[in-house]
Symmetry: C2
Subunit: 329 residues, 2 copies
């Protein structure tokens, strides 16, 4: 049995933080985020009482779902002291990982959308754009970016002849190049590490801000175009990578180490956020809200839901002592 | 693409009721209950405002999870007017259904537990005990109950040679008899119908009360023994059937059409409920609380959580106008 969520920040992140933020990750495309894998919690309330919500069963229809109220609440409603997670059986079959290259992120996004709605059920569908590939090549001493503009790293845990045939057909249809498929465990680990090295490669020696939008899958390809246009218009280099299979990408804007953040960065963020919301996406797919994004609550949730969130916060933390100024304030 | 949940009451139940109760069903063992398949809701609050919670994306880490607060709230926190559900790709491969027989429900439960934690990932694992089989034989003019005491109906949507080998090995290990496996669509439909006919077969011409416990899978086999003992002790005929793969069973107690409910029925329910809670199960796996079970809130949830539920109810429905006397009151 195994615990399915696999956050990109695995080396740094613990289960408590995963629950606080409702962390996503590499395998969310098949197994869901933290919220989909937590069954029960013990929580110390602001008044010191410890309560138990949810439980150990897969089904439960008693009471209101307070477990999911606490998952992702960023420590603002109570302090989680015990977590009961769902464990899944290790899938049968041979895991296959692969890498494929595309002319650009728009073409990649179309391929990802097609794979995602096919019966292939990949566990991982991770995308890296041209800028990210250049950074990665520099960091890893590889040459992936020489001939292509976007890279897809994918995994299918229980591959069959049929699922591989469908996958290959879709990759061909959407003009993937230099497709590599491997069942070799060390090579699979190397491909995963390549994805994990993406962040240090991009961040190396630069200031950065990394975003976290998720949109309906039908808007993934248009969003790739839009982000590209925003970068061009504002003269910014935007790196785009992330969990393409979830419609969840992390545009990252960098600027020189010793300089203040250019005003154009704020403009770019605002444009990307507004477009995401206009397309019925979210501006926090898996990184939660914290202190940086809580001024966007109203734009994302609307004033009535924002008010209701404050009422729930006031009910559970009337003195405002739990992780103040985060999440909704 | 398809909407995965498949409630046993499909011919009667609509999506609104499914969301209100967080309905489970036949395919929950693989795909989860309603809550796992709802992404967003529009809800009219008690004061007339319409709010939108959740959204269209698979990942979302903004705000508190109010979507899951409304799913399963039985109309007591707001009136759901629009539902956005997750659709899944239709799995590749050949669906295989099957039926297997066991000496008794305890042996069946052990086999189910082993299959459930293997890598086979069945979509359906439904159990019927000896009493239910007798009723079904009477209703269907079949003879399933002649030589066995428990019946398992199962489905694997994307079978492979490996998953079939594992399944057969486990069925053999746990002494399944007369195993039938079929890829024939009409026969598969007949097996599903057999499961669906279970309720009219048991209810036919009798008064009945059907329960809905779910326990951790490790307690499924002991629970089968316990329910059998309760029936013996109190001189009651208890029919046990349900979603064994979820640890969710529906013990049904019957008494003659024109008679009042014997006091022993209440005793049996109380004993079964108390044992379920002692074993960290829930006394409502998928049928929700309604008016009959709300006096058990305190026993299942504990006084602190019960109080918190009332506070949330009071916050969202201060005048108590939404579906009064259900769920928590």
């Amino acid at each position: 049995m195994f615990y399915a969520p696999d956050p990109g920040s695995k080396p740094l992140s613990g289960i408590g933080g995963n629950v606080a933020t409702n962390a996503g990750g590499m395998s969310t495309v098949k197994y869901g985020a933290t919220k989909d894998n937590v069954l029960g919690l013990k929580v110390v309330l602001a008044d010191g009482r410890e309560i138990k919500v949810g439980g150990r069963t897969l089904k439960q229809a008693f009471g209101y779902n307070l477990t999911q109220l606490f998952v992702g609440s960023e420590g603002t409603l109570g302090i989680v002291t015990e977590i009961t997670v769902k464990l899944l059986p290790i899938p049968l079959g041979t895991p296959i990982m692969g890498v494929a290259f595309f002319d650009d992120m728009t073409k990649l996004a179309k391929a990802v959308t097609a794979i995602r709605i096919s019966g292939v059920y990949p566990t991982m569908l991770e995308a890296l754009d041209g800028n990210t590939m250049v950074a990665l090549d520099h960091y890893e001493h590889t040459t992936y970016s020489d001939n292509s503009g976007a890279m897809l790293i994918f995994k299918i845990e229980s591959s069959t002849d049929e699922s591989m045939a469908v996958l290959k057909e879709l990759l061909q249809k959407y003009e993937a190049q230099n497709v590599e498929l491997t069942t070799d465990a060390p090579r699979q680990a190397a491909l995963e590490q390549l994805r994990r090295d993406m962040l240090p490669a991009v961040f190396a020696g630069q200031n950065h801000i990394m975003e976290d939008m998720a949109m309906p899958l039908s808007k993934l390809a248009p969003m790739m175009d839009y982000i590209h246009d925003v970068g061009e218009q504002l003269g910014l280099k935007i790196y785009v990578a992330g969990h393409a299979g979830d419609g969840n990408v992390h545009p990252t804007i960098v600027w020189p180490k010793d300089e203040a953040m250019p005003e154009a960065v704020n403009q770019a963020l605002r444009l990307m956020f507004e477009k995401t919301l206009a397309w019925e996406g979210t501006i926090s797919g898996e990184h939660a809200v914290g202190m940086l994004k809580n001024q966007w609550n109203n734009a994302e949730l609307g004033p009535d839901v924002d008010q209701l969130q404050h009422q729930i916060k006031a009910l559970l933390d009337p003195m405002g002592i739990l992780n103040p100024k985060r999440k909704i304030n």
